[in-house]
Symmetry: C3
Subunit: 440 residues, 3 copies
């Protein structure tokens, strides 16, 4: 089962490719320069915005984009009036609204909802933010904001500061920046680091390695002077040497985020959440640093910073509709604005014995479904929930061709072709299904 | 007082006529075939969707239709923000919003609200579902879905299954199908039959008669192998003979509905609500049966049925905006897309002594009004609430011309001309108003 | 700090000028006469309606206007889904949404919110009603409704009846009518008079004086036969003589309002709220009186009045979108539909020691801000909160040029040039800031 073909939608920053992003940013630039050229591009089309979580600004940004292209907009902005009240599955809702509109923008509280919806909608689905996992148009917007300033990402060093655990924008941006060749300084607030498995997927995908940099400012933010850095391998060899972590001299941009109270964060970090302080603004490391923030902000950025030329978060917000215009154009007018393909996710399959998805926020739990899986990895196969990207319990892996089953870490397993993979949580299930023991 | 002139709005399937529906279905076909032709048909017009009950899908379907015709849409989707909070009558709301838009789509929790709104709005009102009584555009959509498959309704046999008591779509569809010449097999869940007065109005209007058919499958759904059938009189003569009810051999379509929890159903039928089961799909009676459902569904149709070619409920949903485009065209562009007139409802009158409407959900109770009446019937006059179609208490009927009053069942009463009718709940009221006793 | 430049938005009726209103009313007349001419005037523009207080009719009226001009509309209608939930300031919300749309219509529960939003939005802001202070487009609508009937306001006498304390429409209309030369008879319900400072600002601005008129009907409405009248000075000299207040012979219009329960009114006037009664309709004083009402109404106007030709409140409502079309045209198409400038408000300044704004509903309290001030007045300076127009505590006034401070009532103070004003709540603060005592 090939779940997520190219251009069926925009679900996560992980599906971006460097050529896709590069051409996309050029398309945004065209839209920004000559908006009048696109005023009727979607005349006669209808775009649905379905926001099952409150998010006024994201919704308005998408809707503004649709109107600027001449599309009609139908919208569900109040979760309480949605069909969920009548006990409908997301699958059915996607099928029905997919019959009413030419493209769906979907924001949903549960991880993987956008991908699930895309399977059933029959029209492209754009993830407007689902659960904790992804917010890809925000990433495109963040990248475009920096692209306008820099023209290129290579050699740039970007700090990502704050709630990396609950915030989807930080996560998605890390994918985007590393894809484009920038280095990412990971600056989580205390107790708010992202899970290690996330970072290692990035490192593997883009040939990056993990280094360490230090700066006294980092201690004010994270509690430690040292910070992890995701760096292109070439770069690191030139910079990292024996002994202490080198002191970083400049950040080209600092991406601040707020504490995601509404995602269950809060108590653990109250009162020590990192942000910009007046005295920090004079630090040489921040001399030419652009400050970005997905907004809304709280205390991370005091209001007096707004007038500082390094503060570009309101310009960033203003670019939101323009970037989303380009998203709509690429999806609905591909004959005129074709882009390189998104990264096709490897085949998924619902047949397995790996049990339920271990992520309690995964959409599969709310849809009464077993999680279909897909595989990632080069050195060894990692089995992920095809919707929410959480690793599934695959302690044993069988080969459909040889009908043999092996422990997951067996050197035999990487030799199995993807289309022959059959994962199992335990050996007994494999045997029960007619697989023979193939050894470790 | 002539309450509801032709084309002042679309309030109930009872106002349809066979020529109206026949030409309407052809108009829908035109819209479906050449949507681009209609993209600017309503440019410059504004359509208001007022949903005082949650119904995301119906609202979006209407709004999508409006956008596809180039109209602007203003919408009230959250009952709690409406003027009702400020204590306004529906009459005033209709007048005001009628000044803002060229057509109103109104969904309201109380029976007859759409007709009442149409009296005051000054622009056409389309019933988007009011109370338990009607949902006429859903009926047009249901009919068009079958029309696409069949081309004609004559000789077709359609089962209507589930919650006939609370569901307005089932009720409206029964009117539509019998009008178009199909037979309707009435398959209510236990305790969920519609009230008998409803059925007898259909029989009288279209010259149908009530027959019985039996099938073992019916027992799984309704608790009885026998089911009532509304059949054209000609047909029945050929099929119904002495003794047991004949066994029906095929259903051309089966219209499933869900239990209408939000309308007060629920406890009486929990757990035994009828729907499709896996083993039933092989039954010969369902061999060429199209399955329809107004959606959202619950357990009436298991998800594995979706891939069955007989399942056309998602196609049905997809046709919603197209059918509603045709509704808007017929109402707002009648110079180009004129249709045969709707059935004009006989004159109504607010002058009577029949007391309040016995239907506690009737809009009159919430508007502080006495119910105006209209008359139905050929053999004898039935006095109905002009808004919600509930029978009023008319035990005595006077003649304004002769100034005489008779018992309602008197053979004198059918001789009174409609414009001279004056109904009374009791004899004393009639005498008090100067009527003389005319005898039984 | 010049807070509120001309045409940066439409915030309060106080900023209107007679030439502005006169030409505006002519523009409305053009729109009403030839609506088709304006159908594409705003094609490609996006208008945002942000309603942080429920007001269905006002929102729909603005949105209908936008659609009739071909603009796209993005809307926030449910306060609970707004960014406020995420703890964002109005300043930030204004900045962000100002980047999404070409014009913002903002309704907000707190006084002065519209002006504050306009400072940060970067695009024009139209006050859709904020707190208790203003609702300028309603006033333009009220004036246009009368202008259609009369052609001119001079010599007209208009009663304003009901809740003058909490209602913003009554307050704004009083400004508009006096600006245009009409006399206003002030008819508050018991305990519902506006505050005196408000009236005196009107008198001073337009060279009006306060007179008294009497009529027995007034007693039924206000509890007293005598009523205050705001009259052009010329008029009064001819009419007011010694002894009792003269009896007014006619009202050209009567503007009724409802009790503003949702603004905290209620208990003090329950049951005695003034409105039209059947017997009053025959009174000679009301013979040629147009009845207006901003709607929704309650019991102020019984429904049987609706059919009376003097009742024009539904026509008034119908004109709402047309008037708002003209507002949008004047603001977004000023090259074609330029109007005389609004009255520029004098410069404001955030530097002072007058403490917090005494108005507990002022937006400054909810934004954590000190109130910037502006000055009003000819004879002596009155220091007002630049957002909500409430008088601030300026017991001492310094001159930045002479560095001397004086008691506010000193004859020296009016001689200080506006740009040198520096208000203080107390003498000590002035001395502490280096001002010398300049005497009384």
């Amino acid at each position: 089962m090939h779940l997520l073909p190219v251009m069926e939608g925009l679900h996560s920053a992980e599906a971006f490719t460097q050529p896709f992003v590069a051409e996309f940013l050029e398309l945004v630039r065209q839209v920004e320069r000559r908006p009048e050229k696109f005023a009727d591009a979607l005349r006669g089309k209808v775009i649905a915005t379905i926001f099952e979580e409150p998010s006024t600004r994201t919704r308005l940004s998408f809707e503004s984009a649709a109107h600027r292209l001449g599309a009609g907009v139908i919208t569900v902005a109040d979760p309480k009036t949605s069909s969920v009240v009548k006990g409908e599955t997301l699958r059915d809702t996607a099928r029905v609204i997919g019959g009413y509109a030419d493209l769906l923008v979907w924001r949903h509280p549960h991880d993987g909802a956008s991908r699930l919806a895309a399977q059933f909608a029959g029209v492209p689905v754009v993830n407007g933010g689902d659960g904790r996992l992804g917010h890809p148009t925000q990433t495109l917007l963040d990248l475009y904001t920096l692209y306008k300033k820099w023209g290129s990402f290579e050699g740039r060093v970007v700090g990502i500061l704050g709630d990396l655990l609950h915030g989807r924008t930080a996560r998605s941006l890390a994918w985007g920046l590393t894809m484009m060749g920038a280095s990412v300084v990971v600056l989580p607030g205390p107790g708010l680091d992202w899970e290690p498995g996330f970072e290692s997927r990035i490192l593997e995908r883009y040939g990056y390695r993990l280094a360490r940099l230090s700066h006294s400012l980092f201690k004010e933010w994270t509690g430690s002077e040292q910070a992890r850095v995701l760096e292109p391998k070439g770069l690191v060899q030139g910079r990292l040497f024996q002994g202490d972590a080198p002191i970083v001299e400049r950040l080209d941009a600092l991406y601040l985020t707020r504490l995601q109270d509404e995602r269950g964060a809060g108590e653990q970090s109250a009162g020590v959440f990192p942000g910009l302080k007046a005295h920090q603004l004079q630090a040489p490391i921040l001399k030419d640093t652009f400050f970005l923030h997905p907004l809304p902000r709280r205390d991370e950025i005091p209001e007096f910073v707004d007038a500082d030329p390094r503060a570009i978060y309101f310009e960033q917000a203003r670019l939101g509709p323009i970037v989303r215009q380009a998203v709509f154009l690429a999806m609905l007018c591909s004959e005129h604005y074709s882009l390189p393909p998104l990264r096709p996710l490897p085949s998924g399959d619902a047949e397995h014995s790996m049990g339920a998805c271990p992520n309690p926020s995964c959409i599969t739990h709310f849809e009464g479904m077993r999680p279909p899986w897909r595989v990632e990895g080069r050195i060894r196969w990692i089995f992920l929930c095809a919707y929410c990207d959480t690793a599934l319990q695959a302690h044993y892996v069988g080969c459909r061709s040889s009908r043999r089953v092996h422990p997951a870490h067996s050197p035999q397993v990487p030799k199995i072709r993807p289309e022959n993979l059959r994962p199992f949580a335990d050996r007994e299930s494999a045997i029960a299904q007619g697989f023979r023991w193939g050894g470790g």
